[in-house]
Amino acid sequence: MPERPILTFEGLTKRYGAVTALDGVSAAIFPGELVSFVGPSGCGKTTLLRLLGGFLTPDAGRIWLDGSDITAEPPNRRATALVFQNYALFPHMSVAENIGYAARIRRRPSAEVNRRVGELLSLVRLDGLGHRRPDQLSGGQQQRVALARALCFNPRVLLLDEPLSNLDAHLRILMRAELKRLQRELALTVVYVTHDQEEALSISDRIAVMDAGRIQQVGLPREVYERPANEFVARFVGVANFVEGEMAGVTETGEMVVHSALGELRLHPAGDLPRPGAPVRLVIRPEAIRIAPQGEAGPNRVPARIETVLYTGSLIRYGMEAEGVSLTVDQPDPRHIVPHREGERVTLIFPPDAHFLPADAER
């Protein structure tokens, strides 16, 4: 990744009356990367995007694009392009007129505009549909037009606001791959806003998880999923089991011993170990817990009772109860296994590499 960020913002704050929508958000976006801002509705992600696009002015904080301060620049003077959630295609213009809008506004010669529109149409695989009206296109096609229109004048940063939320589930997956292809092919720098954590995990180079107007964690998708910084991130990205315990000590083999509600667990997590006696909170993903075969013995075994069984096709999800703690356990690839039944008692094996949250991570 190159050294210099293309887009930087620092301490961005936006208030609506008594409500603080965005509370001192800072980040740096590097050329060619796709960074998602993901969070529940009301977390401030759309406000952030509108600030970056120039549709809102921050109450505090600054924005730099290519090193120059653009905080006070209006949208038409910023080299950013926003693709709106509802696409905002101009209904009184054809597809080609929509795509060429930015070029025509800049008074480019019509031959150049036409050439550029042609290029963009084939880029988004809509050749031959230039004469159509937006309302004669399907949702997926409208989405591509919006994208092509935003790319018309080669923006430095592309801002995408929930771009796939208006598509049906199947199309959403296809467009995800399509977006990724375009972003790689054109080396686009993209700020991507979504509430869909799975979409964010699959499409992003980096993810920023937001809540209550603040960034809770920034990192690679794997980092965010496997080593969430706090309970909010753990809960929002994927499904998480939490086990409370206390750091008991370290064995001679370097294993960390935790006295938990589920009994003694021996772990060797990455990162610094908490000091003995400190409270710890383990975060364990459902697919990391295994159901032990009958009679197998070993460490980190916990007896549990199955409360619910949910078959989803790609996995079986069990709701379990162990020592008063509710757990979610996934059994992947259920083709060759006989599912356990409700009320059955099983033994669970906890992974030795479980992630734990620092004691000060309140949320």
Binding site: Y16, T46, T47, R50, G53, G54, F55, L56, P74, P75, N76, R78, T80, A81, L82, F84, Q85, N86, Y87, A88, F90, P91, H92, Y101, A102, I105, R106, D135, R149, A150, C152, F153, D161, N166
Partner: protein, 560 residues
């Protein structure tokens, strides 16, 4: 049909009741259709027939007479020129004010909006009175500036009509601008368009269909308006005014009045057809998807300064005449003898007319609200042949000028068996069937938000058709009913065109008396009763509004 209802219907003992229940809706439908035929289609048909009536059977002679008359052709030309000017001015100014209200400085929005809507409760004859006090030979302008200005003629009719018709165009422009997806303008700006380019390439093109509709409506309203030309025309001839004189003047000629009516209907009818089509069809403003949080961004000064200035001029042009009417009401003779007096308020004829108007409008509002809600229910929930035609007829009653409906009533109800001319009821019925469409539309749109399953649930649990209507539909339609009541009351109080041919000695409305005072030059009396009339309307609106608000909360609390 649900299982429970089907088995219940199968029981022999209740078959009579079931039959009565099954007949409720068809009976209501027939009743409503009959009323519309009798009070809208029949009178209008008579106007049309009358225009072809000759001494020896049907003839085109009346039309030939119209087109070979230099006088009528002059009237036609004047009406068209006036309508064109009024339309251009009201659409432009309406758009300007709407632009400032929806996108301008926050502090200006509410005052500008309220001022622009003010003429809705101040009809043309009130502005007429104000403009004479201001711009007459001995008017305030000449008194203060020592000029020889005369408002009568073109300046008067144009100014009067623009002020009267402005709120209609303003409302339509405002509706277009607020329902427009703001993301479209944001998107254009994001793609590099300057504020002016956004307006030119996005806002105006998107607003054009709505503005065209507003233009058509303004044109139709201008053509049909007779009060402004009569009060301020200074002898210029206009079609609507000619129609008035042919019915109530010395040259009594109902055939020619009918010919003029046909011409008066035409623009309204075209406008109506366009609206009707558009309502059912597509429009640029209905684009799916939600917009994000929208924050008002300041308009750039190039746009803001001229638009705000123009808006202020418009607001002053509305407020000054209003203030002048109040001034005129409390002075001996505004401009000449400015001594304070209350004498204008004690005029017997005026007070009697005001009381009559209150009574008439209250009765009309009650009938229109009930009929409108029932008709809306029939139209929204029943599928029968000619359903859309019935809705069309109801709307037609509203679309045509009140004067034409009035002439139709004169033709239709002056002979037995339905001899109504000279009665209280002919005025009430005129107002009911002129404004019924508004109640119907409000009711239909409300019903389209109420799921049919609520009524099915009620019937499933054993309620009859009427019972379901009374217990489920009516309470849910409360707001539509109230809106219809308020609208019909207010407009029945203020209308002049609908009632002008239907009044009789002792049974005249306040609007007609003010119009009479204005024509006679009794400006003090005209001002005083304008103040009283508008005051009465405002008072009633305020009372109704508090009631509606309180009830609205109750309804919300009950269903939430």
């Amino acid at each position: 049909m649900t299982v429970a209802a089907a088995t219940r219907r199968g029981r022999p003992g209740e078959s009579v009741q079931a039959l009565a229940d099954a007949l409720t809706m068809p009976a209501l439908t027939v009743l409503m259709v009959g009323a519309l035929l009798l009070f809208i289609v029949y009178p209008l048909g008579l106007v049309f027939v009358k225009s072809f009536e000759g001494d020896a059977g049907p003839t085109l002679g009346n039309y030939v007479r119209f087109f070979s008359s230099r006088y009528f052709l002059g009237s036609l030309r004047n009406s068209l020129v006036l309508a064109a000017i009024t339309t251009a001015a009201t659409v432009t100014l309406g758009l300007v004010v709407a632009f400032v209200v929806t996108r301008g400085p926050t502090a200006l929005r509410m005052p500008a909006r309220l001022t622009a809507l003010l003429p809705l409760i101040a009809p043309s004859y009130v502005f007429g009175v104000a403009l004479i006090i201001l711009g007459g030979r001995q008017g305030l302008v000449n008194q203060m500036l020592g000029t020889e200005f005369r408002i009568f003629g073109w300046p008067g009719v144009i100014l009067g009509q623009v002020l009267t018709i402005l709120p209609v165009c303003y409302l339509m422009a405002e509706n277009v601008l607020t329902s427009m997806d703001r993301n479209l303008e944001d998107s254009a700006s994001d793609l590099g368009a300057s504020a002016l380019q956004v307006v030119r390439t996005i806002t105006l093109p998107l607003a054009t269909p709505g503005l065209l509709k507003a233009a058509l409506l303004a044109f139709a309203l201008s053509i049909a308006d007779f009060a402004t030309p009569t009060i301020l025309g200074g002898g210029l001839a206009f079609l609507a005014q000619d129609a008035l004189l042919l019915v109530i003047g010395a040259e009594y000629d109902l055939r020619m009045a009918s010919v003029l009516s046909v011409f008066l209907i035409l623009p309204s009818f075209v406008s109506f057809l366009v609206h009707h089509r558009w309502l059912a069809g597509r429009s640029y403003t209905t684009i799916t998807g939600r917009g994000g949080a929208v924050e008002a961004r300041a308009m750039p000064p190039v746009l803001q300064v001229p638009l705000v200035l123009l808006t202020m001029v418009v607001c002053l042009a509305i407020l000054i005449p209003m203030a002048v009417v109040v001034f005129g009401a409390f002075t001996q003779l505004a401009g000449i003898n400015n001594a304070w007096t209350l004498q204008h308020f004690s005029n017997f004829r005026g007070l009697r007319a005001l009381a009559f108007s209150l009574r008439m409008a209250a009765v009309a509002a009650g009938i229109a609200a009930v009929l409108g809600v029932v008709l809306a229910y029939v139209l929204a929930r029943r599928r029968f042949a000619g359903r859309s035609l019935v809705e069309f007829v109801a709307l037609l009653g509203f679309a045509i000028p009140g004067t034409v409906l009035g002439i139709g009533y004169v033709l239709a109800f002056n002979t037995p068996p339905l001899r109504l001319t000279g009665t209280f009821w002919i005025i009430v019925l005129g107002c009911v069937f002129h404004y019924l469409a508004v109640v119907v539309e409000a009711g239909i749109s409300k019903l389209s938000q109420i799921d049919v399953s609520l009524e099915e649930a009620s019937r499933d649990m054993g309620a009859s058709t009427l019972g379901t209507f009374g217990r489920i539909v009516l309470p849910l339609m409360g707001t539509a009913l109230m809106a219809g009541l308020v609208y019909t009351f207010m407009n029945s109080m203020l209308t002049l065109s609908t009632v002008i041919f239907l009044i009789s000695p002792g049974r005249e409305t306040a609007s007609a008396v003010i119009f009479h005072f204005a024509r006679m030059g009794e400006l003090g009396l005209a001002s005083a009763f304008s103040v009283l009339l508008i005051g009465a309307v405002l008072l009633c609106l305020a009372v109704l509004w508090t009631v509606v608000r309180r009830r609205g909360m109750l309804v919300l609390g009950g269903t939430g």
